[in-house]
Symmetry: none
Subunit: 318 residues, 2 copies
């Protein structure tokens, strides 16, 4: 009698994983059925937004436990009741209480490509950054640097206040799936708000940090250093210098795309060319002297207060 | 008595959905807890590839039913047993029997991050590029430039043999969906194989091309130029200088990610710093003098013939 498609699928003999996309939650498998080659692709289902109002109710989220808490940020694992027989494991993050900045950051936003000239940076963006580091907004970073939170998770630390840094898993990583490995590097020095503060004098610091981050991550997770991507963001989400360390197979979407991410190696190369300008007797230049082109969402303060007014020929409101 | 983080989350009063990404299976919600604003972000977990061998076993996939079948293609819905209390709804596709073409299409090329030094470029990669432009491999490009093919699709052309270029839709674009707009710019001059051939002498050419590409695309498709992302690839897929013009909202995955894509504006900025070296009386430098770090798949000739041998301390086979 003829086998049903379900019978065929059940008869699948696994051979190897062809591909995995941890960003999109897909998995491609090669195997055989009755001696013939077969491919299975599996994909987690998207959230049903209709159920959003009851998402965290006891019915919607039967099981729930806290993984980590730092200031207003909470990380949970839970199981989402999708249907009578499906309760998917989900990562649930809570920001409470949150600010308008958080709301903008997590809202759908139309992106705009902007060109930040050295003048626009000096006159407006640097002032915006000064606002963003005031009033305890970086306390959660200092909690980490001073071992008041997440200290048990530190993978590597150099405690030197000038050349030191902390390497620890990003809370977006489940700590298990190597192809979605995601670590952060937070420097101890507090004088670098973003790449705009970098110049040739930082070359030795950046090179040594790059090498130690790669070897520490490679040693700790038994992963070759040529499977790691190290980059910075401009604009970053917070203005204390930090690096992102991600598995090369991890699709980070716009977070690793040009217009947002810049490879640390590329920053170092640019600084080396700037160093040649000085070596040739030219004036000292740094990232503050570059035109930087990047994407900014239309809910972002920099768009609404700086770049949208400039586009309309108006004075920025900052 | 103080409430636990779990209590806080349970007390979340839903207000509205801030954002949903059905591709990445994330959901961002705004609400309030004890009268204070709060944001919840939920994300489905990635597959645990360790469980792949048992993915479709009765234990791994307790429930399963066929949605549709067409020849060798089958679509199922099922529930994946992730743990004792989590069984996620998953879409499962089966291709049976499949061919080698299917296998290639669904396979990951394990990427490696490589550092191409000026020496490695001069000694090996430049020779690889010479192979890739030999024997009529670029005839399809010359057919476009000489109007022997796709001439009806040209959006904008400057026929000057030195400063000219052709702007036309990429075959991957459906020509309809503006948020997935994707055009290519192919230059008329044949002396630039990749960014490695660029130096400060090309600045005027690149600046003028950038401006005309943005205005031509913006005019033709009634789209603001700040919604366009213009970048090059290194390594490119063919060695005749070309640009990619993409809508900022289009998720291009690895094709727009650092380690593969470089913004044209960034190339121009780097060349301007190089120009300052010369202006200061330093030696002339160009992209041929940089260390360039990028991702290369392990099936790529450059990995197999150059970077894998070098990693093993062997002589490249090129």
């Amino acid at each position: 009698m003829a086998s049903t498609p379900e019978d065929d699928l059940r008869a699948f003999q696994f051979e190897r994983v062809l591909n995995q996309d941890t960003g999109r939650k897909t998995l491609n498998l090669l195997g055989s059925i009755n001696g013939q080659p077969a491919i299975i692709t599996a994909e987690k289902t998207a959230f049903n937004a209709d159920r959003a109002p009851a998402l965290v109710s006891p019915e919607g989220l039967p099981s729930l436990h806290l993984l980590q808490k730092n200031d207003i940020y909470h990380w949970f694992m839970g199981t989402l009741q999708q249907s009578a027989d499906a309760a998917a494991a989900v990562k649930v993050n809570l920001i409470y209480p949150c600010t308008d900045v958080h709301i903008k950051k997590y809202s759908a936003q139309k992106p705009h490509m902007v060109v930040e000239t050295p003048e626009v940076y000096a006159r407006y963006v640097s002032r915006y950054i000064a606002e963003k580091v005031a009033g305890g907004r970086l306390n959660w970073v200092y909690n980490i640097l001073e071992h008041r939170s997440e200290s048990e998770k530190i993978v590597y630390e150099d405690e030197d206040k000038l050349t030191g840094f902390i390497l620890l898993p990003d809370l977006k990583w489940d700590l298990v799936t190597m192809t979605s490995l995601y670590l952060s590097v937070i420097v101890h020095r507090t004088d670098i708000r973003s790449i705009r503060d970098l110049n040739a004098s930082h070359l030795a610091f950046l090179r040594s940090m790059r090498d130690r981050v790669l070897s520490a991550t490679s040693d700790r997770y038994a992963i070759a250093s040529d499977e790691l991507k190290v980059y910075v963001h401009y604009q970053p989400s917070y203005y204390h210098f930090h690096l992102h360390v991600v598995h090369v197979a991890h699709d980070m979407g716009s977070s690793a795309a040009v217009g947002k991410a810049i490879l640390l190696d590329e920053v170092i190369q640019t600084l080396e060319v700037m160093q040649r300008v000085q070596a040739a007797g030219g004036t000292e230049i740094g990232y503050k002297d570059l035109e930087i082109t990047y994407l900014v969402g239309e809910e972002h303060d920099l768009w609404r207060r700086v770049f949208e007014p400039l586009k309309q020929g108006l004075e920025p409101t900052i």
